[in-house]
């Protein structure tokens, strides 16, 4: 065998191993980004276009759908690779999200933000939750959390009236785009 052929084979091996590790670690995340991107896109548009009580029910329905879809996707993703640690890791991830949600509700109650800052407060907390979870789960989630937080803060300072549209179209749309890219690139 020639050196060039050996080099080519080693390159194929490195790429296949890297692709496998990436696919196991991150590829399923694309579905979560798309699910929650849709929730944001529809929910924040609903905030602006619907009467407040209707928008509240819409958020409730979207959150329930988002949670149910995430659980189903999580279970399906977990089946792709079997390992003794797999179930434990899934439960720890579910516990992490559960804890963050509980803390979000408690903080909202404790801080009692004025109505015009509801969206800002909730968005910043979700951005924080994504960033914290991202430190542990995946870099794209960390970057999304930081991006969402920066987007919310900048739009709030520059043009507060546009915040729901920015969160819907840029936040939700951005998550859908990131999710679609991840599914395509990291299958």
């Amino acid at each position: 065998m020639e050196r060039t052929e050996a080099l080519e084979s080693l390159k194929i091996i490195d790429e296949a191993m890297a692709q496998t590790r990436r696919a196991i670690a991150h590829s399923g995340s694309g579905y979560f980004f798309i699910i929650w991107g849709i929730v944001w896109l529809v929910g924040f548009l609903g905030n602006e276009l619907l009467a407040p009580p209707v928008a509240g029910y819409l958020w409730l329905a979207l959150d329930v759908l988002g949670l149910a879809s995430s659980v189903i996707v999580g279970i399906r993703m977990n089946r792709r690779v079997r390992s003794p640690e797999g179930k434990r890791t899934g439960l720890r991830a579910a516990a992490l999200w559960g804890l963050l949600m509980v803390y979000g509700v408690v903080l909202f109650w404790a801080a009692s933000p004025p109505p015009d800052r509801f969206s800002l407060f909730v968005t910043l907390f979700i951005g924080f939750a994504y960033a914290i979870a991202g430190l542990w789960i995946s870099t794209p989630l960390l970057l999304t959390g930081l991006g969402i937080s920066a987007l919310a803060a900048i739009v709030w300072v520059a043009a507060p009236g546009l915040l729901p549209y920015a969160l819907s179209l840029l936040g939700g749309g951005g998550m859908i785009a990131v999710g679609a890219y991840m599914l395509r690139a990291w299958k």
Binding site: M1, R3, A6, L7, S9, L10, I12, I13, D14, A16, M17, A18, Q19, T20, R21, A23, I24, R79, R80, V81, R82, S83, P84, K187
Partner: protein
């Protein structure tokens, strides 16, 4: 000096073995996940797996999840050893004075 393994050397099987080597020793991977990852058809992946199974390089475990049949694949210790020797042989070729 390590020698090249003719069974592993075939490009699709080389990628297949590399993908399985990337798993932790106690992990196994589902057939469709591997098929999509490697861009192979069912028949093509099945044929390569049969070849590797005959050489006792991989272990296939058929099971049912929610009444649907699923196949999980993992490297055997012998397969892992053969793959590592194949990689060593490739590195030896590169280390040879030209």
């Amino acid at each position: 000096m390590a020698e090249l393994d003719a069974i592993i050397h075939q490009p699709a099987r080389l990628r297949l073995m590399a993908a399985l080597e990337a798993l932790k020793p106690d992990e196994s991977v589902e057939f469709t996940f591997l098929r999509n990852l490697l861009n192979l058809t069912d028949g093509n992946l099945g044929a390569h797996l049969r070849k590797l199974e005959e050489a006792k390089y991989v272990r296939l475990e058929k099971t049912f999840v929610e009444r649907k049949p699923r196949t999980y694949i993992a490297l055997t210790p012998r397969g892992r050893q053969a793959f590592r020797e194949h990689v060593q042989a490739l590195q030896d070729i590169l280390a040879r004075p030209s």
